[in-house]
């Protein structure tokens, strides 16, 4: 490093000790706080042998919970990607009054507790909600049913995609799009030919973050699910039920599915971040 000029031996030694201590502290912290819990999940999941593990994983309620988790996650990713693209395009390509307010409102789901996120849907669609009579009349169930779970999942991950795209588009400016528009390209063409190539990594990154949060959402979904096994149970909720029934091995076995998914997401996330840095987006 460039600082070597003025370092005499003593200072160098001192700096090296500090460096060693700090690296050691970091590694221990990450091992104890972040890695150990994952190892614990896998170990406890396998403590009664591989057969017990497979039985818990292949249990019909686990499969059903996995299906619901996939449905909720895909819904959240699709809706939030559509929203994210439109919102980012609106906020970065046009000038209008209330823009600051709009960006603040989009971030609301970030700021509130997942339990409160669940609560607002109960207050809207539940028995005391103002939409309850209408839903009742049309025989639509939202609270304690699948639509509620999907809605809550969309809500908690709502800003994830737009938040990743907006800074990239802000940095890019709007000259290219304006030029294309003046030359007569239509909106769709401008978006796919000019904007999309700029934001593709940021978009993917947002989708990955959205997926991670959506599949793991617990608090909001827990409020709205009513815990009906095989009907309104997502994987994290299923883990809770098993855990509270003291079926610890089963709970950890189901958790291990989520741990594996989390690790995969983490790896994809790092690859995308690396590629985006290379492409000069971030």
């Amino acid at each position: 490093m460039s600082k070597s000029d003025y370092r005499n031996g003593q200072v160098n030694k001192k700096i090296n000790t500090t460096k060693a201590i700090l690296i050691a502290v970091s590694i221990i912290f990450i091992l104890v706080m972040l890695v150990m819990p994952m190892i614990a999940v896998i170990t406890y999941a396998l403590q009664n042998g591989i057969e017990a593990y497979l039985k818990a994983v292949k249990d019909q309620y686990t499969i059903k919970a996995l299906q619901l988790t996939v449905i909720a996650t895909v819904s959240a990713v699709v809706i939030n990607t559509i929203f994210g693209l439109f919102a980012a395009w609106t906020v970065t390509k046009f000038e209008f009054r209330g823009k600051q307010l709009l960006t603040t409102l989009i971030d609301i789901p970030f700021a509130i507790s997942p339990v409160i996120a669940g609560l607002i849907f109960i207050l809207t669609f539940g028995r005391i909600g103002w939409a309850y009579d209408f839903l009742q009349a049309n025989d639509i169930k939202i609270v304690f049913a699948v639509p509620g779970i999907i809605l809550a999942t969309i809500f908690v991950t709502f800003p994830f995609v737009s938040r990743e795209i907006i800074p990239v588009l802000n940095a890019q400016g709007k000259d290219e799009e304006e030029a294309a528009a003046l030359m007569g390209a239509n909106g769709f063409k401008i978006f796919t030919k000019i904007t999309l190539p700029h934001i593709k990594w940021a978009l993917l990154y947002g989708v990955v973050l959205c997926t991670a949060r959506a599949m793991g959402e617990f608090g909001a979904v827990s409020v709205l699910s009513g815990h009906l096994r095989g009907k309104t149970n997502t994987l994290p909720l299923h883990v809770e039920i098993l855990y509270n029934e003291f079926k610890l091995t089963d709970a950890f076995a189901v958790s291990s599915i989520l741990v594996i998914l989390a690790v995969i997401i983490l790896i994809i996330r790092n690859i995308i971040e690396h590629k985006a840095k290379k492409a000069g987006e971030c």
Partner: protein, 283 residues
């Protein structure tokens, strides 16, 4: 008249890019359906509440105790996160060592790992019979099912916020100032506290605020390790959950409202600090 014309032209001129109508239309529709309308329900319900009723609900002993547990634990956890966040960010930015990239990637784990899984894993590790908990149990320290456990879970959930807030600032920090400080004879510690720390302080505060807000609202990872003993280890989000299960919607809403206000104040403060810091750096 003339002015108006120019203004109009200017306005139209600004929107060369097509698709404003459909973009803002879709954005506002989705935002309203998913966020604004449901959020309005909490306002509608609480507006039916008189100030006196509201006050009575949120000053019940059990509620006050839950707020105390949530806020104090989140505060302590955010402080701990600041300490380790600075160390981790420093190590990841300034040092080269094998396995650094893996370490860097792992920071984000609390975002990727479902909170319920983190909750039961931490509980298993730190209970009296767990791998780490048993070591502390010998020394007479209980972690799971005490406030220590709550703080621990909040440290877990909050650490990426602080590290990721500080990292970019450290990366941009010019080495010149440190060199100058060292040349002038400042010790390493002095250089850190007088030169580097003031630079990363706003970023650290941002991370602190985000970790604090997350800790206050966190449910999944905390609820398993907390033990949920009323007055001692019952967190506010769990109290909302309990009230909902008892169909006490008004109580739940009032308790939630206080938490909402608290997190909005925290976020507002973060924004003010950030704006202030930007002003200083741009000058």
């Amino acid at each position: 008249m003339e002015k108006n014309k120019i203004k109009n032209k200017k306005k139209r001129g600004k929107r060369v890019i097509p698709g404003f109508g459909i973009s803002i239309g879709t954005t506002l529709t989705l935002l309203s359906l998913i966020v604004l309308i449901p959020m309005a329900s909490i306002v509608i319900l609480s507006s039916g509440l008189s100030l006196h009723e509201f006050w009575q609900i949120v000053t019940v002993k059990e509620v006050i105790a839950a707020y105390k547990v949530s806020f104090s634990s989140a505060f302590i956890a955010a402080l701990i996160n600041c300490l380790f966040g600075i160390i981790l960010a420093w190590v990841l930015v300034r040092y080269e060592f094998p396995g650094k990239r893996i370490l860097d990637g792992l920071i984000e784990l609390p975002f990727a790992l479902p909170t319920a899984v983190a909750g039961i894993a931490l509980t298993a590790l730190y209970s009296d019979k767990g791998w780490i908990g048993s070591i502390f149990a010998k020394a007479g320290i209980k972690i799971a099912y005490t406030k220590l456990g709550i703080i621990l879970a909040m440290v877990f959930i909050g650490i990426p916020f602080v590290v990721r807030a500080i990292q970019p600032v450290l990366e941009k920090l010019d080495g010149q100032y440190e060199e100058a400080a060292a040349m002038l004879g400042a010790s390493g510690r002095r250089t850190f506290f007088k030169v580097i720390f003031p630079e990363i302080f706003p970023a650290m505060l941002t991370g602190f605020g985000l970790a604090l807000a997350r800790g206050i609202g966190e449910y999944g990872s905390v609820v398993f390790i907390a033990g949920n003993i009323p007055y001692e280890t019952q967190i506010a989000p769990l109290l909302i959950m309990t009230k909902l299960e008892q169909f006490k919607y008004t109580d739940a809403t009032a308790i939630a409202l206080v938490m909402l206000i608290a997190s909005f104040i925290i976020l507002l403060l973060i924004n003010i600090i950030q704006a202030y810091a930007n002003k200083i750096t741009s000058n």
